[in-house]
Amino acid sequence: MTSPTLLEAPFDTRAALRRSLFIMFLCTLTGAAAQMLIKLGTKQIGAHITLVDVAHHPSLFFRFGLDMIGNPKLFGGYAMYGLNTFLISIALKGRELSRLYPIIALTFVWVTALSIFVLGEHMNFYRAAGVALIVGGVSILGLKAAPRKS
């Protein structure tokens, strides 16, 4: 059999679906790791720029952008995002992104967990409940009234 194409999507196999789900799951982990790199990179840039600063000196926006490219952690973080997007587009072939939202929503869990254990941020009831609500909300966005059986 040749590699799956868009046309073959309706005759999807369980194995292909499992592979897609697995790739998406891996992407949530690498996406969260990329987020850690980005946050750690901003600590190295150090500059505190607000929107008011940018409004007064628009060139700050571009200088900050160049700083981002020059910072290895930020560059690495965004490179990982790029790779993620590529992997997701492979996993999605012929599938609707919205039906994989329950997996994608896991990213919010991983980033929160890593923020606590890697960045040493503190957790409280409101933050935990908020993340739980967001994960639930994102998960149900793509639900259809009557799921198709194939």
Partner: protein, 116 residues
Amino acid sequence: MSTPPSSIFLILLSSFIGSFGAVFLKLGAERMRGLASVVKNYWLALGVALYLASSVFFVMGVAQGELTILYPMVSLGYIWTILWARLFFKEPFTTSKIGGLVMIIGGVALINLGNA
């Protein structure tokens, strides 16, 4: 250490601008016919430019404050996307979209309550 409102605002702005990036990428993708149309496709270029601008604002935002507060606000991007999909591409609201939207807004509100 709590998260400053200026950072929260930067993340909101970033998600808003990024959602328009998606709109223009879709407009560009609908006009894709071969390689030449990818290079000279101003919708695609605008979409990419908006995504880049969105990530600069995002990084400015997360530079100050906590990721446990700021990262979950990325989910607001879904809200904009649902609104623009309805406005520009006539994709209907569904019960699950509205339910998810309410939960996301509620979640972001709760997280901001926990910003102390």
